[in-house]
Amino acid sequence: MNMHVSNVGTERRQDADLIDVMAPPLAPLAMPKQVLTVQAGPVRLALGAVFALMALLRPGQRRAG
C-alpha cells in the first residue's frame, strides 16, 4: 500500500485503512476481576442490619424515607 505521510495533507481515509491493517490480532484471554475488599462475614452482616434498622428509627431518617 502506498501512503503519503508528508506533514500536511495526509488522507484520513488512508490512515483508517492502515490502522485496520495494523490492529493487533484478535486472541482473547479471560482476565477475571480479583477480590480486593474484605468480604463481610455473618457477624459483620448482622451488625450492618442492626445499624441499618437503628438508622431507620431516627426521626430524621423517617422523614427522609
Binding site: N2, H4, V5, T10, R12, L18, T37
Partner: protein
C-alpha cells in the same frame, strides 16, 4: 524454606530490627531530653512523632546498607541459553504524547533487537489512550512512517481505545482480553521508556527459564535531563538508586516490586491474577485503582507467581520530570494512588511482605505530614511550656538545676542528620571502591556532584514537602486529582509560571515565621532552614527549571550515550527530514 526466602528473611529481619532500634533510641533520647522541665503530653506526642519519622529515615538507611555489598554472593538468575521459543510483545501505552518522539523510541528498540541477530519473535503494540484528536491523527501518520521504516507489517501494531476506562491499567487489560493469547510474554513500557535489545532478550531468557516467574522488573536509569532539577534527580537516581535497589532486591523474596514499566510479565500469570476491580465508593479512595503497579505485584505474588527485581540488568531507561511543578503533578497522582492502597492493604490472601510494601508506599506520603506535625508541636511546646523552676522545693534556699541533657539533644540531631547523609556517603564510598564512580567523573567529581545534589535536595525539600502535604490533605478531604498527561521536553519555566505555582508556599513560609516569632521566638532561628526555602519557593522553582551547565551532575549515560539512545536520536534526525512518499507493506 527455599534459599531465596531464607536470604530474604534474614535481610528483612536486619532492616526491620535495626530501623526499629534506631527509631526507639531516638524517641527515648527525645523523651529524656523533654523530661528535663517535666514530662508533658506534648513531649510524649513529639516523642511519638520522632519515633515514626526516625523509623522512616532509618528504614531508608537500612535498605542502602543492605545494598552496599555487591551481589556476587547472590545466585545467578536462571536463563535459557538456546533459542528463544516464546513470543513477546512490547506494549507501549500512550496518552497524549508526542507521537514522533515516542514512535522513534520504538524504531530504536526494534533496530536494537534486530541488531543482535536474534530469531526471537518480538512484536510491538502501541496502545493509544490519546484523547486529543489532533494528536491521535498525528499518531496515525507517525505510525505509518514507523511501519514503513521498520518494514513492520505483522510485527508492529497500533490500536486506539474509544474510552480510556481504567487509565493505563485498563488500557493494558483491554489489550490482554482482546489480543493477549497471541503472545507469551509482554514487556510493559511507558511512553518515555527505552531499552537495549540485548536487555530485552536477556529478560525473555530469564522469564522463559523460570516457569514460576510472573514478572521481572528492571531498574530504569533516568536519561535526557536538561534542567538543574532534572539533572540533579538524574544524578541521584543513577548514583544512589542501584544501591537502594540492591537492598530492596535482597529483601524481596518472591514478592518483589513492580514500578509499572520497564518490566516483563508472563501473560498467562497476568491474565489470571491482575484483573483489577473498581474499588467501592467515589474517588479519591474509591473507583479505578491509580497506583496499579504495586497492586498487580501483590496480586501476582498472592497467586503464587514470583515477582522479582533484577537489579543487575542494565540498558533500561526512562525520563524524569524537568521541573518541580511537573514533579509535583506526577507526585500528586502517585500520592492519591498510594493513599488509595489503604483500601487494599487488608485484601484477603496477600503475602505479608506485599502488605508491608503497600504500607511503605502509604508512609512515603504521610511522612512529610509527620515532620510538619513535629514542627507544629515543637512551636506549641515552646509556647505552652513554662519557665524553668530553679526552686521547686519550698523553703529550700538553693536552686536546683535540671540535668544537662544538651549532649543527648545534640546526639539526637546528629543521629537524625546522619541517617539522611550517612547512606549517601557510604554509596559514594561503594562507588569509588567498585570503580562505579568513574562513570560519574571519578572520585572527586562524583563527590562534588553528590554534595551539590545533597545541598540542592535539602534546599528544595521544604518546597516538595509543601506540595506533598497539600496533595495528602487534598486526598484526605476527598479531592480527586484526575489523570493529567505528563509534560515532556526541556521543562523551562517562566518566572510568572513559577510564581503562580509557588506563591502559596511563600505565603505559608512567611506565615510560619511570623507565627513562630510570636509564639516561640527562640525557635524562629531553628525554623529558618525549613521556612526560608518555602519563602523563596517561586525563585527556587524557576531557577531549578533553568538549563544546567554542561557536564554538571555527570552520569555515565551523559558521558557516553547508550547505543539505543543514539539510535533514538538518529531516527528522530532522520524523521526531521522532509518525506514525500512512503511505501508500506
Amino acid at each position: 524454606m527455599s534459599s531465596v526466602m531464607r536470604r530474604a528473611s534474614v535481610a528483612r529481619g536486619l532492616a526491620l530490627s535495626s530501623s526499629l532500634l534506631a527509631a526507639t533510641a531516638a524517641s527515648l533520647v527525645f523523651l529524656i531530653y523533654g523530661a528535663t522541665d517535666g514530662l508533658s503530653v506534648i513531649d510524649m506526642l513529639r516523642s511519638g512523632l520522632i519515633l515514626l519519622s526516625t523509623w522512616w529515615l532509618a528504614w531508608g538507611a537500612a535498605t542502602a546498607l543492605l545494598g552496599l555489598p555487591s551481589r556476587h554472593d547472590a545466585p545467578a538468575p536462571a536463563r535459557t541459553d538456546g533459542p528463544i521459543t516464546g513470543k513477546t510483545v512490547v506494549l507501549v501505552p500512550v496518552y497524549n504524547e508526542d507521537p514522533q518522539v515516542t514512535f522513534a523510541r520504538i524504531a530504536a528498540m526494534d533496530d536494537s533487537i534486530r541488531a543482535t541477530g536474534t530469531q526471537a519473535r518480538v512484536d510491538f503494540v502501541v496502545l493509544s489512550d490519546t484523547r486529543d484528536e489532533a494528536i491521535a491523527s498525528a499518531e496515525r501518520r507517525c505510525f505509518a512512517q514507523l511501519v514503513a521504516r521498520q518494514n513492520g507489517v505483522g510485527r508492529l501494531f497500533y490500536r486506539r481505545r474509544d474510552k480510556n476506562t481504567g487509565r493505563k491499567a485498563g488500557n493494558i487489560e483491554d489489550f490482554i482480553t482482546s489480543s493477549g493469547a497471541a503472545w507469551d510474554y509482554a514487556l510493559i513500557l511507558d511512553a518515555d521508556s527505552l531499552m537495549e535489545g540485548e536487555t530485552i532478550l536477556e529478560m525473555i531468557r530469564r522469564i522463559e527459564a523460570e516457569p514460576a516467574l510472573g514478572l521481572l522488573q528492571t531498574l530504569p536509569r533516568v536519561i535526557g535531563a536538561q534542567s538543574v532539577f532534572g539533572r540533579a534527580m538524574q544524578f541521584a537516581a543513577g548514583f544512589h538508586s542501584p544501591v537502594f535497589a540492591r537492598g530492596l532486591a535482597a529483601m524481596q523474596g518472591k514478592a518483589g516490586p513492580f514500578w509499572g514499566h520497564n518490566a516483563i510479565v508472563r501473560i498467562r500469570a497476568w491474565s489470571e491474577s491482575c484483573g483489577l476491580p473498581e474499588l467501592p465508593g467515589p474517588p479519591p479512595f474509591g473507583g479505578h485503582i491509580l497506583s496499579h503497579d504495586y497492586v498487580e505485584a501483590a496480586l501476582l505474588a498472592r497467586a503464587g507467581w514470583t515477582v522479582r527485581l533484577d537489579d543487575d540488568l542494565d540498558g533500561s531507561y526512562e525520563e524524569g520530570p524537568e521541573n518541580i511543578i511537573d514533579h509535583a503533578k506526577r507526585d500528586r497522582r502517585w500520592c492519591q494512588g498510594n493513599l488509595q492502597h489503604a483500601m487494599i492493604v487488608g485484601a484477603p490472601g496477600l503475602l505479608p511482605w506485599s502488605r508491608f510494601s503497600l504500607i511503605l508506599g502509604i508512609f512515603a506520603y504521610i511522612a512529610p505530614l509527620i515532620w510538619l506535625a513535629f514542627i507544629a508541636a515543637s512551636v506549641a511546646a515552646a509556647y505552652w511550656g513554662g519557665e524553668l523552676n530553679y526552686f521547686p522545693v519550698a523553703n529550700w534556699p538553693f536552686p536546683v538545676f535540671p540535668n544537662d541533657e544538651t549532649p543527648k539533644a545534640i546526639g539526637l540531631a546528629v543521629g537524625v542528620f546522619g541517617l539522611l547523609v550517612m547512606p549517601k556517603l557510604l554509596v559514594w564510598a561503594e562507588a569509588v571502591v567498585t570503580g562505579r564512580a568513574k562513570g560519574f567523573g571519578g572520585a572527586g567529581r562524583s563527590l562534588r556532584a553528590m554534595l551539590s545534589e545533597l545541598a540542592l535536595s535539602s534546599l528544595i525539600a521544604p518546597v516538595l514537602l509543601a506540595f506533598q502535604s497539600r496533595s495528602v490533605l487534598q486526598v484526605l478531604f476527598g479531592r480527586d486529582g484526575g489523570w493529567p498527561p505528563n509534560n515532556r521536553g526541556d521543562g523551562g519555566l517562566r518566572f510568572a509560571e513559577a510564581w503562580a505555582a509557588g506563591a502559596w508556599i511563600s505565603a505559608w513560609g512567611l506565615g510560619g515565621i511570623a507565627l513562630a516569632n510570636v509564639l516561640a521566638p527562640d525557635l524562629t532561628l531553628w525554623l529558618l532552614p525549613v521556612a526560608l526555602p518555602m519563602v523563596l519557593a517561586p525563585a527556587l522553582i524557576w531557577w531549578t527549571s533553568r538549563p544546567a551547565a554542561t557536564g554538571r551532575f555527570l552520569t555515565p549515560e551523559q558521558a557516553s550515550l547508550p547505543p539505543v539512545v543514539s539510535r533514538h536520536h538518529a531516527v528522530l534526525a532522520d524523521w526531521a527530514k522532509p518525506t514525500k512518499e512512503v511505501k508500506v507493506g
